[in-house]
């Protein structure tokens, strides 16, 4: 049982990171980025290719992060412009449709170029006992990185750019009045969201391969985590991620793999129905 819960936390922290990238972009720009998973897969392919070319692991990993962040910046600076000009539900719908188009483009290009591409970061070494449970080294690395980034994200709130971002989420007009440029903050957050997607693609690949077709699965998972946690809430996304991660591994262990997806989805739907703003969402 303890092992199962620990595995759930390992998985859940990555769910959480994935959700944060989605939730932040929504909080700032009102855009649900349906190309989010494709940004993750793009990064995974960049890492796989640079590793294949003989680059050291850190360089390859950095290239992946940069590629996804750059994709985020380009998206924000070009296609998202007309979206930000819309308001309310128009903005949400136009954002959904345009990023869906981008998702198809990235998916198509990657599949065309690397039809059977997959990233698998093999991390060697003996399993390490943690709290009496033997954990694989890959899982530990994935968890360490996720925790470090989570701490960084929560710490980021206290810095000046972090406060700027938070003020834009809370009240865009107010933020402008105190001299914050929402457009610049949004670009920054879009880039950060890309980097987060890239990071999750890499930590995931430490325990199981990330294939070239995984894009939409990442996107749907990120959407569910972000919504269950409460759109716009970083802590909520982590909380939702960890809870869903534990639900997922516990049900996979006790009930079986095939029912797990259904249990996971039911848990997500139930949370939304019980708390229509998400776990830590603000009321409108």
């Amino acid at each position: 049982m303890k092992a199962v819960v620990l595995d759930g936390i390992v998985l859940g922290l990555q769910f959480g990171l994935l959700g944060v990238g989605m939730t932040l972009v929504y909080g700032l720009g009102g855009v649900l980025n349906l190309a989010y998973g494709q940004m993750a897969v793009l990064a995974a392919m960049v890492v796989a290719v640079t590793l294949g070319a003989g680059a050291p692991a850190l360089v390859a990993s950095g290239a992946g992060l940069l590629a996804a962040a750059a994709a985020g910046v380009v998206l924000d600076r070009t296609l998202m412009r007309p979206v930000y000009r819309q308001r309310g539900e128009h903005r949400v719908l136009l954002g959904l449709l345009l990023t869906l188009g981008v998702a198809f483009v990235i998916d198509g290009l990657l599949l065309w170029r690397y039809p059977s591409g997959a990233l698998r970061l093999a991390i060697g070494g003996e399993a390490v006992p943690i709290l009496g449970v033997r954990m694989r080294v890959g899982s530990l690395w994935a968890t360490g990185i996720s925790l470090a980034v989570a701490a960084l994200l929560l710490g980021f709130r206290a810095t000046t750019p972090g406060r700027a971002a938070h003020s834009v989420i809370q009240d865009e007009v107010g933020a402008r009045l105190v001299g914050i440029n929402p457009a610049a903050v949004r670009t920054f957050i879009f880039a950060a969201s890309g980097a987060l997607a890239a990071l999750v693609a890499q930590t995931r690949s430490m325990t199981s391969p990330v294939g070239v077709t995984a894009g939409f699965d990442f996107t749907i998972l990120a959407l569910i985590v972000a919504v269950v946690g409460g759109l716009g809430s970083v802590a909520g996304a982590f909380l939702a991620g960890v809870l869903l991660g534990i639900v997922s591994t516990v049900s996979a262990f006790y009930i079986g793999q095939y029912i797990t997806t259904i249990v996971l989805l039911a848990a997500a739907a139930l949370t939304i129905v019980l708390r229509p703003r998400g776990l830590l969402g603000r009321s409108p």
């Binding site: 007309p82 309310g88 449709l97 198509g108 029912i259």
Partner: protein, 343 residues
């Protein structure tokens, strides 16, 4: 949603889609449906010899029917049902299992399965309304239902055949298996759905729909029972989805999870409807035709097809933010106004 001061916000930011009142006169309200039906009825004369092309035409009509149903639910009452494929799948799989396994007569099986789909859609709508979920949250709950249904299909192998799907024995040996006859049946269903959509628009239900689309709070204050009308739309749309899925299953003779898959059905229906124009009568039909033609044109591009499809979606939505039907209607209106001014 916060205001957007760093760019000129589109001043005419009406609610999503179109809430225009339908024409009063009976003839003006229904002639577009008659015209559409007449034009589409000519298609078999042109393609009738090719079984393959007729199959594609039937697929297009089925998607048209899905899009009209989705238009009733999302276009009229703003409930983002991301379970179009799943509800059609409840109709399709339900009917096939009831007919082939339980031995019920095919028509009874279709009706029962449609009733189940209707009840499920109504239930989803009722939950969303009771908990006052907004667009995105409704979307995620229905998406969760959709993905669960897909998993159930894969898991219940002995009943659904799992990934390999089911060969349907009831139906294909009747007229449903003949492509031209099936085409006219689906065309009849599409026209009937359009008539229902227009009749709803023109009735007091349509007034309520428009009121709650334009301003939900104001509608509520004016005495419109928002909850009840949302559930009505959910029920009517789900019934359309269920019966379409059921008839399609028996006519096609083979169903598999991918027939009703989210990525295959819902994404396409949303794109089609958003392109044609949410809440418009002919938007779903226009979207269906445009994307059916696009599919045929793009098929030669092989692997590159997805990329072009994505680029087209981007270009189309940058061009027509509010849908093609309203854009064309605007253009016509402007041309007419210029002519009357010059004369």
């Amino acid at each position: 949603m916060t205001a957007e001061p760093d760019a000129a916000v589109d001043a005419d930011a009406a609610p999503l889609g179109v809430s225009a009142r339908p024409p009063r006169s009976l003839a003006r309200a229904y002639w577009p449906i008659v015209a559409t039906g007449a034009v589409l009825a000519l298609v078999p004369l042109w393609l009738g010899d090719s079984r393959l092309m007729m199959g594609l035409a039937i697929d297009a009509l089925v998607f048209g029917a899905y899009a009209v149903a989705f238009n009733v639910i999302f276009g009229s009452t703003n409930q983002l049902f991301l379970c179009v494929g799943a509800l059609a799948g409840v109709g399709g799989y339900g009917s096939v299992i009831l007919a082939d396994r339980a031995g019920l007569p095919m028509v009874v099986a279709m009706l029962l399965a449609t009733a189940v789909a209707t009840a499920l859609g109504g239930l989803l709508s009722w939950v969303a309304v009771r908990r006052s979920l907004d667009v995105i949250f409704t979307g995620i709950v229905t998406l969760a239902f959709s993905l669960s249904f897909a998993n159930l299909l894969l898991g219940q192998r002995e009943l659904t055949g799992g990934e390999t799907g089911l060969v349907v024995s009831a139906g294909p040996d009747t007229f449903l298996g003949e492509r031209v006859a099936a085409y006219y049946l689906f065309l009849g269903m599409l026209v009937a759905f359009l008539v229902v959509f227009r009749a709803l628009q023109r009735s007091h239900v349509g007034w309520a729909f428009r009121a709650l689309r334009d301003n939900e709070l104001a509608a509520e204050l004016a005495g419109v029972d928002v909850a009840r009308y949302r559930v009505y739309a959910g029920l009517v749309g789900s019934a359309m989805l269920g019966i379409t899925g059921a008839v399609f299953a028996h006519s096609d003779g083979f169903i598999s999870p991918s027939t009703f898959e989210f990525g295959h059905v819902d994404v396409r229906v949303l794109v089609m409807l958003a392109f044609g124009g949410l809440g418009t009568l002919l938007g779903p039909v226009l979207g269906t035709v445009v994307f059916a033609v696009l599919d045929e044109v793009l098929i030669d591009f092989g692997q590159f097809r997805t990329v072009l499809y994505g680029l087209l979606i981007i270009a189309l939505f940058l061009g027509f933010k509010r849908g093609a039907v309203p854009a064309v209607a605007d253009l016509v209106r402007r041309l007419l106004a210029r002519r009357s001014r010059s004369s």
